[in-house]
């Protein structure tokens, strides 16, 4: 089990260069790759979300914009050029800053948020060994880094000098901090079962035994607690009260435009992908093929597991969860802020604590029986 940084260092080490330059190289290359992945993700996700929304709302969605004038027949291309049109529009838009805004804070707020998302990707695998750095505290690192964004949200809301932004930021801070707890508790449960915080160990455990979601009734419940909590943590409907457009205009993003707003957008979709990837490799077997769930399939089907096809399986699982989030968004109304807090503190946290207690007993009994 290696990571990208390890393999890069190994590959280039035969060239006799300074170790510092080598390290710099090993940092810059994965960083660039991850940034490109994030940018591609936001472009494709936005298109995907627009099409999903259109499908649910009995419309067609983007159909008109082709690439370089080639529509290629509307049915075939389906307005795929909208992706580039949106990107160009967002990047060339005027960057408006309110006169009384705190300019420095307003400038750095989007970058703090995007840095949080980008840093989380370091601990996220895309396949067996396709991970920037596979450290031994992987899960803890992911939980820690996903909370960085809230600082940016508060800064953005405060610096805009707008009451709606302030409302949005306060709601968002309360929400993200509260929902960190059930997320942490459910991931802790997985750590208890497999005895490691390292990402590769968790998937290896699932490869040896079974997917976590099917491991015991408690891990099954934990998956749903985790998934609903991360929907809240990424501020998606039905928990999108920080940017509730019918109440707070656009919440903490109200005063942002152009490039800075597109960075918010990028981090939102990146966060969706991150939490879906985490759910996939923690609960749904990561890069293991679905045929490993039960042993009814013959061994020859194990050929469907591997490095390259693992990328496919992991992305399929993650993108399905992303789709479920979009499904939520276009189906559900929005909760009120106190109901949101109620759901977290009085439902999810007691349930995940009880879950944690019972799963330890389950493991003790299972360990004694085997």
């Amino acid at each position: 089990m290696t990571s990208i940084v390890d393999s890069l260092l190994n590959t280039i080490s035969f060239i006799n260069i300074d170790i510092n330059i080598l390290l710099l190289f090993a940092i810059v290359v994965p960083g660039l790759v991850l940034f490109i992945v994030m940018a591609l993700n936001v472009m494709l996700s936005v298109y995907f979300e627009r099409k999903v929304a259109a499908f649910m709302q009995d419309r067609l969605g983007p159909m008109e914009v082709g690439i370089f004038g080639f529509k290629g027949g509307k049915k075939f291309w389906g307005g795929i050029g909208q992706i580039f049109a949106d990107t160009v529009k967002l990047l060339t838009k005027e960057d408006i800053m309110p006169a009384n805004a705190d300019k420095v804070l307003m400038l750095i707020a989007p970058f703090i948020i995007v840095a949080g998302a980008l840093l989380t990707f370091i601990g996220i695998p895309f396949s067996d060994g396709l991970i920037v750095s596979d450290f031994n505290i992987g899960i803890l690192y992911i939980i820690a880094m996903s909370s960085v964004g809230v600082i940016g949200v508060i800064l953005a809301g405060w610096s805009s000098n707008n009451k709606w932004s302030l409302y949005g930021a306060m709601r968002s801070a309360a929400q993200i901090i509260s929902y960190e707890i059930p997320i942490g508790l459910t991931l802790l449960l997985v750590v208890i079962v497999c005895g490691s915080l390292q990402v590769s160990d968790i998937v290896q455990w699932q490869s040896d035994n079974r997917w976590f979601i099917f491991h015991s009734p408690f891990t099954f419940v934990a998956f749903f607690i985790y998934f609903i909590s991360v929907v809240a943590e990424t501020n998606r409907t039905p928990f999108d009260i920080p940017e509730a457009e019918s109440e707070l205009v656009a919440g903490w993003m109200t005063e942002f435009s152009g490039f800075k707003w597109s960075i918010f957008f990028m981090s939102e979709y990146a966060n969706m992908l991150i939490v879906s990837l985490v759910a996939s490799f923690v609960f749904l077997g990561g890069w293991l093929s679905p045929f490993t769930i039960f042993s009814i399939f013959p061994d020859s089907w194990l050929i469907l597991d591997g490095f390259y096809i693992g990328i496919f399986w992991l992305l399929i699982k993650a993108l399905f969860l992303v789709f479920v989030m979009m499904w939520f968004r276009w189906t559900f109304p929005r909760l009120r802020v106190d109901q949101l807090m109620y759901t977290c503190w009085k439902v999810f946290i007691p349930f995940s604590l009880a879950n944690l207690f019972f799963v330890t007993i389950w493991e003790l009994i299972a360990g004694a029986l085997s």
Binding site: A53, Q57, S246, F332, P333, R334, L335
Partner: protein, 378 residues
């Protein structure tokens, strides 16, 4: 039930928040001056007048026929109702008896318009509590009604169809059949809205027990229409003071029963509108089947010159009790025209039902009152 924090234990400085005139969910150019303590709202003051167009003063310098398009623009979501109610007032002034067919056509378009208006109200209330998809579904179905109206008079929003003394055009061929087809299509759609919105757990959490309007408060403020019926009153002018040919039809008046919470909460006001669409469909079926043959134009002089006198007529529009007071001095223009706007009275109750609740509840309460600013400001 949701309990508000005791102010004597926790208190902080209050903040004045201006919601609107440009805001996604103030239903037009309404400004709400909200005094809040954090998320909890202590008072809401609606400030109106951003869409004031001097409708009543204008009418004093226009002939009676020329006023009809102006009434259309008052409640632009229920134009047929406004021109119908105005025409009724003028006809009362002239003491005119109309052919049976005209009355039937007017009832048909009025009930279609009521469905169209309630579709907007239902969808927009969903939008206010955060559900986007039902809104597009209701708009999709409203399009079909607009297509019918386009067939009828060429216009899709402001029809100028109901005139004093008649209607502008007779029903086109196929109209009755197409309306039947629409109803066949539409009634199953209501169940679909109920599935995705009305019985949705989150929707119920957001609207039940929220913005409760007690019946006595509603009557004191002059609230009418679905908003009052949501509080349990059966007041409906179509039943209580039947005008046109409404006394010939068999229909029920749905009232709020507090199925999901207290009687008179946002959910009741919303659900009354859903049920009223079904009742309108019932009336439509009867009217389409029973429509008599005849002429649709009552012979009127080119210039209407009503005798001296004054008249007040009431009409049950999609939003409530529309009243037109007209005083005639014997000229071809009204001496004074006053419109009683139902949405204006309905909006006045907003502070009563949303003070003490949270920010999001103000939006829900406002959405459930179903106001149209064009009518409030006139």
């Amino acid at each position: 039930m949701f309990k508000i924090v005791d102010k004597s234990i926790i208190s902080a400085d209050e903040m004045v928040l201006n919601m609107g005139p440009q805001h996604p969910s103030t239903h037009g150019v309404l400004r709400l001056k909200i005094i809040t303590d954090g998320e909890i709202v202590s008072s809401v003051e609606p400030i109106i007048g951003y869409l004031h167009r001097c409708f009543e003063k204008h009418c004093e310098s226009l002939s009676y026929e020329q006023i009809v398009p102006f009434t259309d623009r008052c409640d632009y979501l229920a134009s047929m109702h406004m021109s119908h109610s105005y025409s009724m007032a003028v006809e009362k002034l002239l003491d005119l008896e109309l052919p049976e067919r005209v009355e039937y056509i007017r009832v048909i378009v009025a009930e279609l318009q009521r469905i169209a208006s309630h579709l907007i109200a239902v969808g927009v209330f969903g939008l206010d509590v955060g559900a986007i998809t039902p809104f597009t579904w209701t708009l999709r179905d409203r399009e079909r009604i607009l297509d019918l109206f386009e067939m009828l008079c060429g216009a899709r929003l402001l029809y100028n169809y109901v005139w004093p003394g008649g209607v502008s055009h007779d029903l086109p061929p196929n109209f009755i059949q197409k309306t039947h087809e629409f109803l066949d299509y539409f009634l199953p759609q209501i169940d679909e809205y109920n599935q995705v919105l009305t019985t949705n757990r989150i929707f119920i959490e957001r609207s039940a027990d929220v913005g409760v309007l007690p019946l006595d408060v509603g009557i004191n403020y002059g609230v009418t229409g679905p908003s009052l019926r949501g509080s349990g009153s059966t007041f409906d002018l179509r039943k209580d003071e039947p005008y046109s040919v409404y006394d010939k039809f068999d229909f029920d008046v749905p009232v709020g029963q507090g199925l999901m919470g207290t009687v008179g909460d946002c959910w009741d006001r919303y659900y009354v509108k859903v049920l009223e669409m079904k009742e309108s469909a019932k009336i439509l079926r009867q009217a389409l089947d029973g429509i008599p043959k005849g002429d649709v134009h009552e012979v009127l002089p080119k210039k209407i010159r009503p005798p001296k006198g004054e008249v007040y007529s009431r009409y049950e529009s999609a939003r409530g009790d529309v009243g037109f007071y007209i005083r005639s001095a014997g000229k071809n223009m009204p001496d004074r025209l006053k419109m009683r706007s139902p949405a204006y009275c309905n909006l006045s109750v907003l502070n009563e039902i949303s003070a003490g609740w949270m920010m999001s509840d103000v939006i829900a309460a406002l959405g459930s009152l179903d106001i149209v600013l064009g009518e409030i400001d006139r």
